[in-house]
């Protein structure tokens, strides 16, 4: 179980440009952090840094677990639940196949009830190519749930969703924090979790 995630003097450069430097923040279990900033400020880059895809130009990210600290990107990646810009869905696979694939890939058994939670139970046998943008997003949320990871990194979690979808995201995030999870979300809208926010 993760106790906290600390960023210490974190810096990120893309090409010649410095996106941010000497960034410090701390998120504890059960908390959410909203990352705000203009387009191109480096919100997605920060999430990619935390996930371990990018190496920081300076500083480090430390994950504290029971009595242990670790700043290894590869190990940190194994606790990350990722919801990026792209949904990672294959048009040829059905909704249920897609979800089962990710559940098994992350080492869990398939769980059909997750589709009900995100309101896609009736579309289970529909190939993903027929899904609308909002439905794809809901399926991506279902995938996030079946990955059962404690550290959620969400890039624009409300994008493309209708009002009930946005309420669903808020509900799932509140439940995740309630279970002791951590959420770091790049967003332009308030998360509504009484969370702290970080301006880039």
């Amino acid at each position: 179980m993760i106790i906290s995630l600390n960023a210490e003097k974190l810096g990120c450069t893309r090409g010649e440009r410095t996106l941010f430097s000497a960034l410090n923040f701390r998120v504890q279990a059960g908390q959410a952090l909203a990352v705000e900033g203009a387009n191109g400020a480096g919100k997605t880059s920060l999430l990619r840094l935390i996930a371990g895809f990018l190496a920081p130009a300076a500083g480090r990210i430390v994950v504290k677990t029971d009595g242990r600290e670790n700043d290894d990107a590869e190990e940190r990646g194994k606790s990350v639940g990722w919801l990026g810009h792209q949904d990672g869905l294959k048009p040829q696979l059905t909704v249920a196949e897609q979800l089962d694939f990710y559940a098994c890939l992350y080492g869990h058994s398939a769980d059909g009830s997750v589709l009900e939670q995100v309101g896609l139970a009736r579309q289970a046998d529909l190939p993903c190519r027929y899904l609308s943008a909002g439905q794809r997003r809901r399926l991506a949320l279902a995938r996030l749930l079946v990955s059962k990871r404690p550290l959620w990194l969400l890039d624009e979690p409300f994008a493309a969703l209708d009002t009930s979808g946005q309420a669903l995201v808020a509900h799932l995030m509140a439940r995740h924090c309630g279970n002791g999870g951590i959420i770091i979300a790049a967003t332009h809208e308030p998360l509504g979790l009484g969370n702290e926010s970080l301006k880039l």
């Binding site: 895809f53 990672g88 196949e97 890939l105």
Partner: protein, 226 residues
Amino acid sequence: MSPFATLLVRDIRLAARSGGGAALALSFFALVATLVPLGVGADLHLLSRVAGGVLWVAAVLAALLSLDRLFQGDFEDGSLELIALSPLPLELTALAKIAAHWLSTGLPLTLLSPLLALLFNLPGPATATLFVSLLIGTPAVSAVGAIGASLTLSLKRGGLILPLIILPLLAPAVIFGAGAVALTLDGPMGIEGAGGALELLAAFAFGAVLLSPFAAAASVRLNLSN
């Protein structure tokens, strides 16, 4: 199912459903193998001489058709990031993709080859050698191809550069594979006579399958950090 088997099954399923997998490679292989006798003419002796080389080159080119999408599809739709975060190490991810590519193209090509050998008037023992050499050698094509596919995964027209990268690396496979067929054809001992070439081919394939997942994984990591 283990994460490895899950990825393997999913990739085979995708290859089967997208129409770019086995069916396309097999048709290409069959068409090239049919065109060559039409172009060369009905010189049966000449045809059986060139059969090994032509069928090997055709098999490599047919396998190339679907290689550029090995990682690219997953990279473009964001699946690769999710796979990279899964408990499956990227090296095993690459191995699963190589295995899936071989099962959906290399193996069907091998199974079809004895039928196409008929068009070249290839005698029975030489056909057997061709079959065995493709069975041993096509995994190397998928494995070496995975290195090229991982290097070009972020390029829009990566499929055009891919052959330039991997065809030179596959020269040993073609030389030993076609060489084994020629040895069988010339020698009095049947497939036994091709032993040396087949062993070298097996060694090449073994090395390629063992080492290329590491190279491909390193290259995928590099591409994800862009």
